[in-house]
């Protein structure tokens, strides 16, 4: 007992900044949960869900170097599991009005958290069957197979009317509005990913990304390691999909077009392939950025009545800003770096040095 206390004390001594940061973060979430309006709440929830799914994608694509494009399909499985198992039984007849729900499912209703975890597990099982043949191969096969899979799963869900209600979709899913669900789970997944990446497994993932032959020569089991990463990624994505369904309160197959995957691809490329903090930052930048630019869609932006201020302009401006960022940060905002205390201290010193250097060179001009 005393030993544990000692080691805990030593750990806190070493990582006190992180511990303080976590406490502040939790307080921040608690405050935000009390005071933000439903519009902001929705956007923040969406940010957290994007963090979860993008992180899962980065684990496979950025850390293990396996190009997987199945996010939309995996999310669909998680979302539908939550939808099918949490819709109140009494409203099912009204939802499945064209074809009644399959009898073996019609009377099962699970608590949200159970359905959520089940969604993750089902997604991981499906991922196993895709990964089993594909992860043995090298090259682009995984990308092709997962892209194909994500389209197949959408079409399957469209046609299994007695389970998923086909194209009509499912509504009346009990919604979550508290920030604790999304941010809590996002936080758990971020911590789990950090621990995983810094473990033996994480180093094995990275070694595969860098050089498969060298990794194999060092005794890393390629298939097993790739599969581990792929399954964990799929599990997290399934959870993210389940939260997505519960946030919107409705699912239908059209939500899960493969274009959804590109959202997450954008986030991880923008944040940096192989950076956890980069992914988190990029998720917030992309989600908040699109909403913040909405004023460009209104006819009177900046008090000017110009015809270019019409719906769609914000997407043009947003794409332009993305291009600029990618142009200047070729490896994404964070590259493969992490936002650690050391990293920030170093950046701060570099910034101070540069500003100081400029000041001596051109006295007044550097101030702006």
């Amino acid at each position: 007992m005393k030993e544990l206390q000692n080691s805990l004390g030593a750990y806190l001594k070493l990582h006190w900044k992180t511990a303080v940061f976590l406490v502040v973060l939790l307080l921040g979430i608690g405050l935000a949960d009390q005071f933000v309006d439903s519009y902001m709440r929705r956007i923040l929830n969406l940010c957290a869900i994007y963090v979860i799914v993008s992180l899962a994608m980065n684990l496979v694509n950025g850390f293990t170097g396996q190009f997987s494009l199945g996010q939309a399909g995996f999310m669909a499985i998680g979302a539908y599991t939550v939808a099918v198992f949490t819709v109140p039984i009494e409203s099912r007849a009204a939802i499945f009005y064209l074809e009644p729900m399959a009898p073996f499912l019609a009377n099962i209703q699970l608590p949200f958290i159970v359905a959520l975890i089940l969604g993750g597990l089902v997604t991981a099982v499906v991922a196993f069957f895709i990964g089993y043949p594909c992860l043995r191969l090298r090259g682009d096969y995984l990308a092709i197979a997962t892209l194909g899979f994500s389209e197949i799963i959408r079409i399957v869900f469209t046609n299994t009317q007695s389970i998923t209600n086909g194209a009509l979709g499912i509504k009346s899913i009990p919604t979550i509005s508290s920030l604790w669900w999304t941010f809590g789970i996002a936080l758990i997944i971020i911590i789990a990913t950090v621990l995983l990446i810094n473990s033996t497994y994480g180093r094995a993932f990275k070694s595969i990304r860098e050089d498969e032959i060298a990794a194999e020569a060092m005794g890393v089991g390629l298939f097993k390691t790739k599969m581990t990463s792929f399954l964990i990624g799929a599990f997290f994505t399934g959870i993210g999909g389940g939260l997505f369904a519960a946030l919107l309160g409705t699912v239908d197959p059209k939500q899960f077009y493969f274009t959804l995957t590109y959202n997450f691809l954008l986030i991880i490329v923008l944040g940096g392939m192989g950076s956890i903090s980069g992914t988190v930052i990029a998720s917030f930048v992309v989600t908040l950025g699109q909403e913040a630019l909405r004023f460009l869609d209104e006819p009177m932006a900046f008090g000017l009545d110009l015809p270019i201020f019409r719906p769609g302009l914000r997407m043009v401006v947003f794409s332009f800003l993305l291009m600029v960022i990618v142009l200047f940060y070729r490896k994404g905002l964070m590259g493969t770096n992490e936002l650690t205390w050391d990293f920030m201290a170093e950046k701060y010193r570099a910034l101070k040095k540069r500003l100081g250097g400029k000041k001596t060179a051109t006295e007044g001009g550097a101030k702006k």
Partner: protein, 388 residues
Amino acid sequence: MKKTLSLLLSMAMVVTMVAGCSGGTKTSSADSDVIKIGVFEPLTGANAAGGELEVEGIKLANQLRPEVLGKKVELVIADNKSDKAEATTAAARLIEKDKVVAILGSWGSSLSIAAGDVVKTNKVPAVALSATNPQVTAGNDYYFRVCFLDPFQGTVMANYAYKNLKAKKVAIIQEVSNDYSVGLAKFFTDSFTKLSGDPNAIVATGNYNTGDQDFNGILTNIKAANPDVIFAPGNFTESALIIKQARALGITAPFIGGDTWETNEFITVGGADVNGAVMSTFFDDTNPLTEAGKTFVAEYKKAYPNSANIAAVSALGYDGYMMTLDAIERAGSADPVAIRDALATTKDFEGATGMITIDANGDATKNQAVIKGVKDGKFTYMDTVTID
């Protein structure tokens, strides 16, 4: 140099973000002699064409009747990008940031369903314009609609097939990935089997997905079943291709469908083969059903002199706006809950697309539909059917 520029650009991004947020709060604290109505439509993305047409109708109605209760009505238009997640945030934004008292839209049932929870929890009424899926209003006291539903349209076409075309055997081709098409096919099947009294009246059913190009497999099956009529509700491009390929296979049975066919693309893709195709729709500009319809047509032609024909969804946009204003007037206040109660008791409201009475579900009970056909490469008015 590069670093400085990147710093400047990121500063610019931050500034625009701040401007965006502060801009939003500025409008929300606007003076109270303006009544704000939110318009929530897909103006970019896959459904942009439909959303644009509805907004046209709403704007026209706003020009004709810019005031209610002595206050100016301001339209706040929010784009939902044809995306469900975006639809919920757009609706929440209209309610929270812009403080609208009612919402009109959206084109596409699934987008309206996604916003349903937001309007219900925030107690702001919404009026769907062309969303025909029963789930939009089911179980939601705050969602209303001005169009007729899939069941009604299915019944209309089943009656047409049975009475006018004297069909005994029908084949159905449905776009299985489209909720509208699946719903229509189901209700057509129900009412046709009831009308004909023959449980086996539907001799063949074919399913296809949005974006399919080759329908020969489905059509070969249908040819073998030899139906009198083929009911094929679905997207206009695919439907036109189906008719083309059916004629090439030697199928001579007439094709009937729903209101989604009424687009120019249907005729340009189908060419001469779609002549004789018949569909039901909400509205026809050459034969308006009501006085309000005549006013709408005249004003529309004045406002948009270059458009060849008036889309039914524009007329529905017009009706949605007018009905909401009527409700605000009857409620005597711009309180969202009072407006909801007034909307729920709408009775015999004269809209451009017919008389509207809101039933207990929040749906418009309409008993009239327009039958149109393609004749010499043009949509021509054929008949107005009334069903009790």
